[in-house]
Amino acid sequence: MSERKGEVKLPGTKLSAKEMYSLLGLVESAPQAKYEFSAGPSLSKFLQGLKEGKILGKRCPRCGRIYVPPRDYCEYCHVPLTNWVEVPDTGVVHTAVVSYISTKRERLEKPEVVGVIRLDVPGYKEDSYEFAGLFHRLCIDPEEAKKDSAVGMKVKARWKPKEQRTGSILDIECFEPVR
């Protein structure tokens, strides 16, 4: 809308929430689809590793790069990844945030601290753009997480007890600061 003639009214009819729900002719419909996702060969083995209390990564036979979470193909060499390696479950906090809302946009009673953890996987330079890491919860006090010292903090995985592990990403309860 060019302003050659001053104020211009654009098409579009606004409704408030109340107006929309009391509209004549409104149709509601709930979808019924259910899904079953397969984890695929790489992630399945990764999840089995988590059940045993290990974090597994996959190494490229050509360039030697270790991927966590593991993939089926090397992104740069385009060869299938074949070698499984166990990687340390310690790392450094890359970023951390404190959430006060849930998935459904409702207020949480207790704030949750989550972040990206850069794992101590060999082969990556300290300031490289890419690294091996995981996204997970952090067991840090929310106020500590907001301080500058949180980024770069050393952390270690806290595993659930063996009988509670089911082969899912939640087998790691969270990452906590190394004392």
Binding site: M1, S2, E3, R4, G6, E7, V8, K9, L10, P11, G12, T13, K14, L15, S16, E19, M20, L23, S29, F37, A39, L43, L47, Y67, V68, P69, E75, H94, T95, A96, V97, V98, S99, Y100, I101, S102, T103, K104, R105, P111, V114, V116, S128, Y129, E130, F131, G133, L134, F135, H136, R137, P142, A145, K146, D148, V151, G152, S168, I169, L170
Partner: protein, 394 residues
């Protein structure tokens, strides 16, 4: 990274018309009607009718917002695509700029002389809240069990940017203040307001460090462009706006494996577009920019990715007023997504439409102070993945 440098373009491509609907939280119109309203405006401005259009490009992001699958086919009659070649493009939020990019190659290849490019989004049908739909973009095995919210990922990026570059929340909030103020002069705006940095910091804390006023709202809306080859453009208008360069790149979905403070994929897309346009020093040669700003720090992030400022420098320049409408490199003179609204696919088209009007000196109260010759817009989409860039000139 090698980018395209050797292109045979059959016809130069220009934008000759643009149209917008109001952006609003809830619209009475069905998605088809929104697309029609925007498309008709664009055609009227260009002085063309539907008979003159050869092809149609439709951009609409996840079907799961509207609850109607096969969005391209659904929107087809509202976009004038019946009995015409129609392409639907979709790269999440990047769709907005990818729509004119796609229209560009339809014309540049010689396949079509005129293209009607429409971006439309209706987010209000989804309940309980459209944000819940974003749940389904996460990896089902590694991420969903942790029950995330989309805002977490932005918060993580923002935190990393703050930690690496030394920016504070007050500095980043200036973007929100600037854009909402710019949007006061935009008739399509949904959330234009005169706020202060304090208002932003006092608004509801969602996921630290993100507050309510740091993010753009959920919107319904549509925007359209008419794109034509040089012959047609010169007959239709005295001031066509040329599309000089296009770029688009995709990164992997593993955002937990990369440095979050710099969007490398956007940088590659920008280089591709600048190379095509023959721009070597974007920070000097670009006069006005519309970086994608669904969150306030994202504008700074993208300004650096587009090489309009050095990495970690954008927030300092912002404080000096460098990016205001009367500054050296105005960004988001339209008010951006923070001020006007964020219907996912239509927002990028709105930004390109704004640059179209700026380059023709038709933006009225929103016109930037300095003379404008070259402009760049970008959009970003998916899970920290897609970067799309377009370079325009008059």
């Amino acid at each position: 990274m090698e980018v395209v440098s050797n292109l045979f373009v059959k016809d130069r491509v220009a934008i000759v018309g643009a149209g917008l609907t109001t952006f609003m939280r809830r619209a009475l119109e069905t998605p088809r009607e929104l697309a029609w309203e925007a498309a008709r405006q664009a055609l009227d401005q260009a002085g063309l009718t539907l008979k003159d259009i050869d092809c149609v490009v439709i951009g609409s992001a996840p079907d799961t917002f509207d609850g109607v699958h096969l969005k391209g086919e659904y929107l087809a009659d509202g976009s004038g695509a019946i009995n015409k070649p129609m392409t639907r493009v979709y790269v999440g939020g990047g769709t907005g700029v990818f729509v004119p990019v796609s229209a560009w190659w339809h014309v540049a290849s010689g396949l079509c002389r005129t293209v009607l490019a429409v971006g439309e989004e209706k987010m209000s049908p989804a309940h309980p809240h459209p944000q819940y739909v974003f749940r389904y973009i996460w990896d089902p095995i590694l991420h969903r069990p942790l029950e995330l919210n989309l805002i977490w990922i932005f918060a993580m990026e923002m935190r990393r940017y703050m930690a690496k570059c030394g920016a504070k929340k007050e500095d980043i909030a200036l973007v929100s203040v600037k854009n909402k103020r710019n949007a006061l002069d935009n008739p399509a705006a949904q959330v234009a307001a005169n706020i202060t940095v304090d208002d932003v910091l006092k608004s509801e804390l969602l996921v630290w460090p993100v507050n309510e006023l740091d993010i753009s709202p959920v919107s319904d809306g549509a925007a359209a462009l008419v794109i034509a080859s040089e012959n047609v453009a010169r007959q239709v208008t005295d001031s066509p706006v040329w599309i000089d360069g296009v770029g688009f790149t995709l990164d992997n979905q593993h955002w937990e494996n990369r440095e979050l403070a710099f969007p490398r994929y956007l940088n590659y897309a920008a280089r591709m577009a600048y190379r095509m346009a023959g721009i070597e020093r974007p920070w000097k040669e670009i006069d006005v920019a519309e970086p994608y700003d669904p969150f306030d720090y994202k504008e700074l992030h993208h300004i650096e990715g587009l090489m309009l400022a050095r990495p970690c420098e954008a927030w300092k320049l912002l404080k000096e007023g460098y990016f205001e409408r009367d500054g050296e490199l105005p960004t988001s003179p339209s008010g951006g997504l923070l001020g006007v609204g964020n219907p996912i696919a239509a927002a990028g088209v709105m930004k390109v439409a704004e640059l179209f009007w700026q380059l023709r000196y038709e933006a009225g109260k929103r016109q930037v102070k300095k003379p404008v010759h070259k402009a760049v817009a970008n959009a970003w989409g998916d899970l920290m993945q897609a970067g799309t860039v377009i370079v325009l000139s008059n």
